[in-house]
Symmetry: D2
Subunit: 191 residues, 4 copies
């Protein structure tokens, strides 16, 4: 029997009623049975400032986040697109995760991403920047399929439920691939 | 006689002793006589959260920053490179600047960028992401020359002075081009 | 009286019936009266190979193209998106244009871009790569507005005419900005 | 006993004496014993033009290249950097590989890249664009370590041999990771 996968998730949007946080909330319902999700918060992290580090060590809140990610089997990031890139707050969290003694928070941890927007582009530019940063940190990011939920207001209701059937189906298929991807990088083989 | 240009500057690094902040501190000495610089701070901005906006209006600190940028003739941004992109804190400031009633903080405001790193790559990937975001905001960013100060520790002394003569010369020539660039986009023609 | 602007255009797609070539064919009709367009061909250029250069000089076909671009007041490039980037053939033409004695084909020549696709993304990733390459070559590319014609098959008829009224209107407004942009960089001020 | 891996390689540079082709020529000597390399040529491919396809089928030369890649266990691409991106010729080859009936040439085929330049940046921007295109095609590209051979003329001799000992050592370690990466994506599990 295959052991379940413990995945952590991060939303790049902080506001209540975020479409991206909603996507993460819908995932457990749409996922194959072997996947367990746990959402991590980044809203309490300060803006990165090297002077907040003591002996090159990031603050406790960062170290706790790093510990939780490294204890997981993989990470799923939901990201909006702000100004043709990922949100500064999400990049800031990743910048913190890269600090302190190696291995850093994301090193060797497999990743997958998805995104929703109210326009028609659906976060492709944001995901492109996120993907470049994950490569920099040696986190293998699943290349395809890409979840770009455009016009999210038509597909997610006011309670945050993904109601659009073709979107639900697409995310279901994507989660099957997420499981396959994460299992290619077993935690036991991480240095 | 040509009126002087009033330029504002932002450093993407918050730490004391930052090479990038040092670059900005050196610029007035190296610039042609017609350029006046004023440094703006971004360290007091919270991480962007849509719920911090009231009636789609950003907090006062953001609006004041927007006002100062719009009252200027152009903006110069010094950026380090974190994880193959611009610092989350810098992107966060720009995300804030894009909020509220149009025209936003950077719309139509000409820009130029420079960067320093202690490695050999010298922030080229960070500048590429910054450039993409400035295009999104309709801020015309000077394409060339690009200031990529690699191995900054060999070129900037402990007091933050750029001591390397060829770097000083390069920045001098770059500032001549910055003035030319900014003058192509007079404030009076901004909508 | 203002002198007319002579602009050259390049299509990144070679096939007959290309939506992008069609966009260029529609532009003269939609443009302000002061703009004159001349289309340049890139289909006869070989794939770049340094061994085709003699004494660092590109072949005659390239030099002729460089000459025509430098004799213009600016360049407009229509680009499809292939595999999240610009077409290899378009990049190849630009690579050739960057060769030979300075100033190269595009150096200091202002540029603007537009793109059409049959999907919903509308070439934003292709334009992002094109923009990065134009910055490398010191060609100032107009940052906004961005023409991303999605689902072009619904907006351009079989004769290549842009029939969608809102697309026509958008391109009209874009061309007004193109003229403004190109006039900021008069040929007489080019080194 | 582990079966050997059959890897194909492509050089993004066509000129004789290319540093990037030289890197590929050096790889067999530096690789672990289980890796077998076979170089594929792209120089005979025409510039992509949809009208060269018959019934959506690419020319025979493309189909043969697709067949060879799909018959391999993975692909290694050496790329120079031209104008802040990958060479047009390399992108053109990849554009061709993406054509015809699915699965396309690169779909599901694991990849790794390396690059050499005579400047100090060492192809990081070219690799970034290549990485984005490989993600578009669902080719999992190894995120780290990244081989950026800067000032290649000091590290590769006139006969194309990598003589710099630290570069040799770095590539040796990189090839160990390449093998690990490729084995995570066995051909038998490809759809």
């Amino acid at each position: 029997m295959t052991a379940p996968l413990n995945l952590v998730t991060i939303s790049g949007s902080l506001r209540r009623g975020s479409f991206n946080t909603a996507l993460l909330d819908n995932i457990p319902d749409l996922a194959p049975s072997g996947l367990i999700f746990r959402r991590l918060e980044i809203r309490h992290l300060p803006v990165y400032d090297g002077d907040l580090e003591v002996d090159d060590m990031p603050p406790d809140a960062v170290r706790e986040l790093q510990r939780q990610i490294r204890a997981s089997d993989g990470i799923v990031i939901a990201t909006p697109e702000y100004n043709h890139g990922m949100p500064g707050g999400l990049k800031n969290a990743i910048d913190w995760l890269s600090r302190g003694p190696a291995p850093h928070g994301l090193q060797g941890v497999p990743s997958a991403m998805l995104g929703a927007s109210d326009g028609t582009i659906g976060t492709t530019r944001s995901q492109s920047h996120l993907r470049q940063t994950l490569a920099a940190l040696n986190s293998p990011a699943m290349p395809q399929p890409q979840v770009l939920v455009a016009r999210a207001q038509d597909k997610i209701d006011v309670d945050g439920k993904v109601t659009d059937e073709s979107t639900r189906k697409f995310i279901r298929g994507w989660l099957v691939e997420v499981e396959r991807w994460m299992r290619r990088f077993p935690r036991s083989e991480r240095e």
